[in-house]
C-alpha cells in the first residue's frame, strides 16, 4: 500500500489522504492509478506549483520516474518558489 497525502489546494477528494493498494512502481504509475479512481487528478497535478515528496524526500527533478515500494508515503506539496 502507498499512502498519498494531498494539500488542501488540491481538492480532488473529501479526504486529504488516499491509500493506493494496487501495485505501482513509480510516481507516474501512482498518479495514473489515482487518476483512474478520480478522473482529472492527473490534469490537476500538471501544474508547476505541485511537487512530490517521497518519505519526506523532496523530488526536484525526475520526479515521475522515482521508484516506489510498498509502505512509501507520497506527499503532494504546493511549492511557492520564492519569498
Amino acid at each position: 500500500m502507498i499512502s498519498v497525502l494531498l494539500p488542501a489546494a488540491l481538492r480532488v477528494s473529501d479526504s486529504h489522504r488516499i491509500e493506493v493498494h494496487e501495485a505501482v512502481h513509480s510516481v507516474a504509475e501512482l498518479v495514473d492509478a489515482i487518476d483512474r479512481r478520480i478522473p482529472g487528478f492527473r490534469d490537476q497535478l500538471d501544474d508547476s506549483v505541485f511537487n512530490f515528496a517521497v518519505n519526506d524526500e523532496m523530488l526536484l527533478y525526475q520526479a515521475r520516474e522515482r521508484a516506489l515500494q510498498d509502505g512509501d508515503v507520497v506527499e503532494v506539496i504546493p511549492t511557492i518558489s520564492g519569498g
Partner: protein
C-alpha cells in the same frame, strides 16, 4: 565638486516637460537650504533604463562622489517609482537607491504598499534627497508640491506610534488619501540594518536605507491627496483586466500567495535540507513552523495599492489591546526563516511576536536576524562571551534575549550597539577578526532569505553576483525547485532562452538562467511590478516582458519590443556594476560565504553537497561571458561606452 554643483549641472541638462504621457517629475530636494529643483528623466535614459530602479541608477551614477562615505549628506538618497507604478494591477512598487552604509556597495531596495503609487499621483516619479537638514524634517507632498515641516514632535516615535499619530495631525486615511515613508528610532540612530518603513510592514529594507534617511535628518515623507486615474497615451484598462485575470488564474497565486502568502515555502525548504539553521551550521528545522501552524493566527490578508493578489498575511496573537505586539502584518517566509531556524527558535508565537517588533522598530528582518544569528554562533564558539554581551545569554532559541537585542539595536544600547553595525561589526571593532569566517554575507550584505544554497547551484550563483550583495530578489532562478519544469527540458529552454541543466545541483548552464532572471527582474523593478507576480519568480505563467511591453505602450506611448526590454534589464545590471566598480567591487567580490565552499550539507537526499570552488569559478566565468562582462565583472568596452554616453 559639491553635490549642489552636480545637481545644478544635471538639472540644467534635464527636460523641463514630461517626455511621455504619465511621466512624473524628478524632484531634487536640498534639505540643508530647503530648496527644490525639478526636471524630467531624458527619453534616452528611459529607453535605456526605464524609470524606477533603472532611472534611479542614472541619478546615482551622476550624483555619486565615491570619495565621500555612504552616510555623508552629499551622497543622495533617491526614491523612484516605475513606469507602470500605480496604474497596472500589482505594479505598486518603487525603489530607494544610494550608496549602502551597511554593505559599502550600491543600496537599492524595493517596496510597495502605497507610497510609490501616491507620489506618482502627485506627478512625481523620483525624489532625490541630499544635504543634511538643520533639524529633523518631515516632507509633505501635496498637490504636486513639497513642503518642509518641522518633524521634532515625531522624533523618537517608532512605526506603530508614528502611523497612529499622523492621521490625527494631518487628517486623512491611510491607503485612501495618505501614504508615507518614514524612519523609526533605528533610522534616527543610524542602525545599519534599519529600514525605511513604507507601511505597517512594507519597507525599503536592504542595505541600511533607514540609516541613510536618518543621516539626512528626514523623519518622513508624507503624501496626501485623493487617488486618481492617469491620462495615458491610449486606453489601458482593458489590458489591465487581462493582466489581473492572468494574475488571479495563476496557480501559485490561487493556491499559495492569496491564501497563505510566502510562509508556504518553509516546508519544502526544510524538507529539502536547505533551510538555513543556526547561522547555516545546519540545514533543517522543526515542522512546528510550517505555514499550517500560522493559520490559527492569521485573521486575513492585506495588499498593496490596487493589487488583486493581497499576499500579505496579517497576524493576531491575542486580543489584548495593551499588547502592542499582539498583532501585525506578516511574517513573510524570510522573517520566518531568520527568526525561526536561523536563531534556533521553534515556537511560531515567538517568531510572529519578533516579526511584529521588527516592523515597529523599523528593522530589516533579513540583516537583523542574520546579524543576531552570527553573534549567536560566535557565542557558541566562545568568540563572544557574556563579558561582551553585557551578561546576555546568546544561546540558540533564547527568544527573550533576541527580543531584548532588537530593542538594544534600535536604540544602540549595550551589546545592541555592536549588532547595530551589522556586517561591519568586525570593522568597527565589536567582534574579533575570526568572526568574519562565520559571517553569512556577500559584498557586505547578509543573505536576504533563509534558503541554504549549497544544493541549488543557480541559487548560489545568483547570490554571488547580485549587485546589491547577497540577495535572492535580484536574480533568483526560483523555478529550479519545481520538478514539473525541470522535467520538461524543452519548456525550460523556452523559459530561459537556452538549455539549462535539469539537475538542481548541477553547475551546467545555470548562468543562462541567472542572466534571464536578472534581466526580467530589473525590468520589473523599473516598471514597478511586484517580484512575487513577475514571470519566472513564482511561476512561468505570470505577467512578463510581453505584458510589460504592451502596457508600457498603452500607458506611455513608448514602444519597446520584448528583446529591447530584455536589453533594458541587462543595461540596468551593467550600470549597477559600473557604479559598484567605482566603489571598489571586483571579481573576487562575486563569491559566497566560506562555509558553503568548505562544509557539506549533513542531512537529506543531498547530504554531502557543497560548492566546489573550481566549478563555481568556471560558472562565474560563463556568467560573465553570457552577461557581456569583462573578467573583472564590468561591461565590456563597447557596451560600457554606449552606457556612458547615455548616462552623460
Amino acid at each position: 565638486m559639491t553635490i549642489r554643483d552636480r545637481v545644478t549641472t544635471l538639472v540644467a541638462e534635464l527636460p523641463k516637460e514630461p517626455q511621455y504621457p504619465t511621466q512624473g517629475a524628478t524632484v531634487f530636494v536640498d534639505l540643508q537650504r530647503r530648496e527644490i529643483a525639478r526636471g524630467y528623466t531624458p527619453i534616452r535614459v528611459v529607453k535605456t533604463l526605464l524609470a524606477g530602479r533603472g532611472a534611479n541608477m542614472y541619478y546615482l551614477h551622476r550624483l555619486l562622489d565615491e570619495s565621500l562615505h555612504p552616510l555623508h549628506p552629499d551622497v543622495p538618497l533617491i526614491f523612484g517609482s516605475g513606469v507602470l507604478t500605480g496604474i497596472v494591477p500589482s505594479a505598486a512598487r518603487g525603489n530607494a537607491t544610494s550608496w549602502s552604509p551597511e554593505s559599502g556597495v550600491i543600496m537599492d531596495s524595493n517596496a510597495g504598499d502605497h507610497f510609490p503609487s501616491f507620489i506618482r499621483m502627485n506627478g512625481i516619479d523620483h525624489i532625490v534627497l541630499f544635504g543634511e537638514a538643520a533639524g529633523w524634517t518631515l516632507l509633505r507632498v501635496k498637490a504636486g508640491g513639497i513642503e518642509f515641516l518641522d518633524a521634532t514632535p515625531y522624533v523618537g516615535l517608532d512605526n506603530i506610534d508614528l502611523r497612529d499619530r499622523i492621521p490625527h495631525d494631518f487628517g486623512g486615511t491611510w491607503a485612501r488619501d495618505l501614504a508615507m515613508v518614514n524612519v523609526t528610532r533605528a533610522g534616527e540612530n543610524q542602525v545599519l540594518t534599519s529600514a525605511i518603513m513604507a507601511g505597517p510592514k512594507a519597507c525599503y529594507a536592504r542595505g541600511g536605507p533607514g540609516a541613510k534617511m536618518g543621516s539626512l535628518k528626514v523623519k518622513a515623507i508624507l503624501v496626501q491627496g485623493q487617488t486618481r486615474d492617469f491620462e495615458t497615451a491610449q486606453p489601458y484598462k482593458g489590458y489591465n483586466r487581462t493582466i489581473a485575470q492572468k494574475l488571479l488564474e495563476t496557480s501559485v497565486v490561487k493556491h499559495a500567495l492569496k491564501t497563505v502568502g510566502t510562509p508556504f515555502l518553509y516546508r519544502p525548504s526544510r524538507m529539502l535540507g536547505a533551510m538555513g539553521t543556526k547561522n547555516n551550521q545546519e540545514t533543517t528545522w522543526t515542522d512546528k513552523l510550517d505555514s499550517d501552524n500560522i493559520t490559527p493566527y492569521r485573521p486575513g490578508m492585506a495588499g498593496c495599492f490596487r493589487c488583486p493578489v493581497n499576499c500579505r498575511p496579517l497576524n493576531e496573537l491575542n486580543q489584548d489591546p495593551q499588547d502592542k505586539y499582539g498583532r501585525g502584518d506578516g511574517p513573510e517566509y524570510v522573517t520566518l526563516g531568520k527568526f525561526g531556524p536561523n536563531v534556533g527558535i521553534d515556537r511560531i508565537e515567538s517568531v510572529i511576536r519578533l516579526n511584529n517588533i521588527c516592523n515597529d522598530l523599523g528593522l530589516d528582518t533579513a540583516s537583523t536576524g542574520s546579524t543576531i544569528a552570527w553573534a549567536m554562533e560566535l557565542y557558541q564558539r566562545g568568540l563572544l562571551t557574556q563579558k561582551e554581551t553585557g551578561g546576555l545569554d546568546l544561546a540558540w532559541g533564547n527568544a527573550d534575549v533576541v527580543e531584548q537585542l532588537l530593542f538594544g539595536m534600535s536604540r544602540r544600547e549595550g551589546f545592541g550597539n555592536a549588532l547595530a553595525d551589522g556586517t561591519r561589526a568586525v570593522e568597527k571593532g565589536h567582534f574579533p577578526n575570526e568572526a568574519l569566517r562565520y559571517r553569512m554575507a556577500v559584498k557586505g550584505l547578509m543573505q536576504s532569505d533563509p534558503h541554504d544554497a549549497r544544493i541549488l547551484k543557480a541559487f548560489a550563483l545568483g547570490l554571488a553576483v547580485a549587485t546589491r550583495g547577497m540577495d535572492h530578489l535580484r536574480n533568483r532562478v526560483t523555478l529550479e525547485i519545481n520538478a514539473r519544469i525541470n522535467d520538461d527540458p524543452a519548456f525550460k529552454e523556452r523559459l530561459y532562452g537556452a538549455p539549462v541543466s535539469a539537475a538542481p545541483n548541477s553547475y551546467a548552464q545555470k548562468e543562462v538562467a541567472v542572466r534571464a532572471c536578472e534581466n526580467i527582474y530589473a525590468v520589473g523593478d523599473s516598471v514597478g511590478m511586484c517580484r512575487f507576480t513577475t514571470k519566472l519568480f513564482n511561476s512561468p505563467s505570470l505577467p512578463g516582458l510581453e505584458e510589460f511591453s504592451a502596457q508600457i505602450q498603452n500607458v506611455s506611448g513608448l514602444t519597446f519590443s520584448v528583446d529591447e526590454l530584455n536589453n533594458v534589464g541587462h543595461n540596468i545590471m551593467g550600470v549597477e556594476r559600473m557604479i559598484n566598480h567605482r566603489l571598489g567591487v571586483r571579481r573576487a567580490d562575486d563569491t559566497l560565504p566560506e562555509r558553503w565552499f568548505d562544509e557539506p550539507i549533513q542531512v537529506g537526499s543531498y547530504k554531502g553537497e557543497k560548492i566546489d570552488r573550481g566549478e563555481f569559478d568556471a560558472m562565474l566565468t560563463r556568467f560573465y561571458e553570457v552577461s557581456n562582462l569583462t573578467p573583472e565583472g564590468v561591461p565590456v568596452d563597447g557596451w560600457r561606452q554606449q552606457l556612458q554616453q547615455v548616462l552623460g
